[in-house]
Symmetry: C2
Subunit: 247 residues, 2 copies
DNA sequence: ATTAAACATATTGTATACAATTTGTCAATC
DNA sequence: GATTGACAAATTGTATACAATATGTTTAAT
């Protein structure tokens, strides 16, 4: 679900924004070190002006921060900040679920949500050896985007989008952990049961339950984060969401 | 509580940001109309470069929006967006209160919070005719800022700051309504009882209660918003928070 | 009279030049 | 040898020039 219009003005600005964000997320630049504007503009083939616009925007996303002496640096996040960001996402998705339940959603959109849930079921019902990871990840992202939409509130939708722009707060942050951790598929099964329960609660107009479920669903991500950080610290370099986390 | 360092880079940028924000909030420019960069830069005595930085920042605050054909315009908000923003603030302050209760706060900070509550008591105990409105407003802002601090989470603190930058979502959005609406002091009394209850719940480590109270506290603002919009639409021009709201 | 097209004007988006700070280096002094 | 000072290089923050695009007006055609 790419968004071309509105989100970014023109060609060069967009190029700078996407390029810089990708560079930061892929760990292409050292956290803490000052980002040289001239070096970056040459690397991304844009002028300093659109580059600075991109830097300012990434500052709002908390991916880079202002340095007291001037300029920007890639942020390094603490474990606690990651935990709080996940809790924040859960809170916002909880509000989205409650709004959807309380205010109601048209049948067509509910049906669309169910179809995503059923598609997720299929990926998990298949032979574990032939589990289609990338399809699960895409469907999971679709589910969370749909949940934000079901809220019917642009305010909530926008805030969720902002918070999930942080890699470790994204709903798909740890879905690919299963590639490295045997038995992680179980976690996905639990997550899927929560997906189902959330949509079910929305359908039955059970606002409080929908909210509590969405919150708990996010805490599954926290659980995985804690596990990886404590038990498998070597994975930090292989799970993209964790490259920005300090030891 | 002005924040000079870190928040904005240099002199001209800061001047442009503060000047433009004030201009928009005071209704100095017509919502919907395109903001002319040259006109604004002359009006604020800054160059186009820092002005555009300010525009981009206000876009993140949702105060202005990109126009498809290019440039920015002052946003006009719907009643529903205001309602959702208030609910969002309540949700975030709820998380802050719960974090404070669950994770605990050092006695000194709790004591400081209580002293604000007691100071608020004093303003309300005084003779209604000599009610010191501006002092109440300042203390109320202090309370909400302290609540965000008590969370102990920079993530939450930052998000609250962002959301409350919208005038109608600010904790003090409607405190001056009492000047125009007789009997509104009663609402402030109710609000104050909630202030007390929130800090009390935090002190007793009652996380769920603290969260519920903070949410309900924000809904008092929604109540006032609805009242003003439905019963006293003429106040729209006199309550600063409402100048950006569409009829 | 109304619509459409072509042109002129104005405004944004981008690139770059300039000035003020900051950062790094080297030498002199304690 | 370490530390402080001055100086040089580099980098940011700001201003402005330029190009591409949008807007408004006039003119021509139906």
């Amino acid at each position: 679900m790419a968004r071309k219009p509105q989100d970014a003005p023109m060609q060069q600005s967009l190029k700078a924004l996407l390029g810089l964000r990708a560079l930061v997320l892929q760990g292409g630049v050292e956290p803490g070190k000052r980002l040289s504007e001239i070096a970056l503009s040459e690397r991304l083939n844009v002028s300093r002006t659109p580059l600075r616009a991109a830097l300012q925007r990434l500052e709002q996303e908390h991916l880079v921060e202002l340095i007291p002496s001037g300029g920007y640096a890639v942020r390094r996040f603490t474990h606690q900040e990651a935990v709080d960001s996940i809790e924040l996402r859960g809170t916002l998705e909880g509000v989205a679920a409650r709004f959807a339940a309380e205010r109601g959603v048209v049948p067509a959109r509910l049906k669309a949500a169910w179809s995503i849930v059923h598609a997720l079921d299929e990926t998990l019902d298949s032979n574990p050896d032939s589990f289609d990871f990338s399809r699960y990840e895409q469907l999971n992202e679709d589910f969370h985007e749909t949940l934000a939409d079901l809220s019917g509130s642009d305010v909530i939708r926008r805030e969720i989008a902002r918070v999930t722009s942080l890699p470790f707060a994204s709903p798909s942050a740890f879905t690919n952990t299963h590639v490295n951790v045997p038995g992680f598929l179980k976690t996905l099964t639990i997550a899927q049961s929560q997906h189902r329960a959330i949509i079910s609660a929305i359908e039955m107009r059970e606002g409080a339950r929908a909210e509590a479920l969405a919150r708990e669903h996010a805490r599954l991500a926290r659980q995985t984060l804690d596990f990886v950080m404590e038990e498998k610290p070597d994975l930090r370099t292989r799970v993209p969401a964790l490259t920005l986390l300090a030891v």
